[in-house]
């Protein structure tokens, strides 16, 4: 089969599976809701800086939880089946695109609940939405690759956090910094654009690395 067709078939399979096992999706939503509720009760009135930092931390944990299951749910037999009918790059790309979509939806839910409970200190909410979407793409890309690595080991969920945190630090710092544009902090001309390009370049390099490295994880 043509690689593109393989990719779209695999992506369709992921989405269908998600829609058929809705409990996982609802579980994620409940995870977001309860996290934010705990934050709301413990935090009270948050300043803009704290609000921003906590938003990205919740985003990070949501991403770990949402992406982790993408490889955990693949049983050994099914992986073998995939191995015999698809190419590794089509497989990892379908996972990546699916996780980006999933994280995008979770991001929107997170934003809605977060602003509902903890208020909205931003001056330009639309810009913040855009930045958070950009961030959720980057996060899900990195953690898809890490989920693929962690799925080969024991204690996968906690291992993913250990493997991922040091790698995700620079992206998170860039994102926290960039989202300050949405809090009417004045930036040097062109500085936000530069950060956006940097983030996109990082995303691109993660995709490239995933396509190059996944074939090695793939064969068992």
């Amino acid at each position: 089969m043509h690689p593109y067709k393989q990719f779209s078939a695999l992506l369709k399979k992921e989405i269908l599976l998600e829609l058929r096992q809705k409990h996982a999706l609802y579980g994620m939503m409940l995870y977001i809701a309860s996290t934010i509720f705990v934050l709301y009760l413990t935090l009270g009135d948050a300043e803009a800086e704290t609000w921003n930092a906590l938003f990205w931390i919740t985003q990070l944990f949501i991403c770990i939880n949402a992406v982790a299951k993408s490889f955990l749910q693949e049983a050994k037999g099914r992986m073998l089946y995939h191995f015999s009918i698809t190419t590794p790059s089509a497989f990892i790309l379908s996972k990546i695109v699916y996780n980006v979509l999933l994280m995008g939806i979770m991001n929107v839910i997170n934003l809605i609940l977060y602003t509902a409970f903890l208020g909205d200190p931003t001056t330009s909410f639309l810009a913040f939405v855009g930045i958070s979407l950009l961030g959720s793409i980057g996060l899900s890309l990195v953690f898809t690759m890490l989920a693929a690595i962690a799925s080969k080991a024991m204690q996968q969920a906690s291992l993913m956090a250990i493997l991922g945190f040091p790698i995700i630090i620079p992206q998170l710092m860039l994102l926290v910094r960039l989202s300050k544009t949405a809090f009417s902090e004045i930036f040097r001309d062109g500085a936000p654009l530069q950060v956006i390009f940097l983030l996109l370049a990082l995303d691109l390099s993660v995709i490239l690395l995933a396509v190059i490295l996944y074939p090695f994880l793939w064969k068992d």
Binding site: I149, L163, P166, I167, P170, R177, D220
Partner: protein
Amino acid sequence: MRIAWWKIASIILLCYAVVGGLLLPVPALSQLGETIRNLYFHVCMWFAMMILFTISIIHSIKYLNRSDLRHDIKAKSYAAVGTYMGLLGYSTGAIWASFTWADPNNPAYASFGSIMREPKLIGAAMALLIYGAYFILRNSIKDMDQRARVSAVYNVFAYTMLFPSIWIIPRLLPSLHPGQEGNPALNFNDIDARMRMVFYPAVLGWTLLGAWITTLKIRIELIQEKKILSNEK
């Protein structure tokens, strides 16, 4: 006993670095005073660490190419000694910082929070955390071949992600650390000519020492794993 020319060179260079580093003249800077001599030890540790990590990732790539377990052992040993050098870099840096950066009215523990925000320290902490995670990952996979393959993939992935970050973070945050504009010690104008006379030999000496320790570790491990390795070929 296997002694090669570079091991002798390492001994000579390190003797020179220690003796010369403590005795040769250095520029008198009011802030640093004689602590500037720590440059020959502190900065060299980071150089050695990065070079050893680079060798480790080269072996990881070689492993992915050829699936020879010897390369996996080499990658692991270089990463281990690199991490050790990184810890030494941290401790020499901590001693240095306590004389130059830390507030004398504050105990060291209280100023830790503000010192740790240094971009170079963040970069170094990231490198150490990544290799810490690398060893945890290795230990959590039982099958030897799979362990070698998965950890090689993580090594390559993490190392390539580390590089842009080391380049990005210093440009995001304000810093007290020398070499504000980017990466310290790589710029030729940063260091006084007198210091360069000791600094470069010292870097070479410490790196060679690290490599020497690693080759010993590799030899021990190759002997331990002899059975498995001889079955392979």
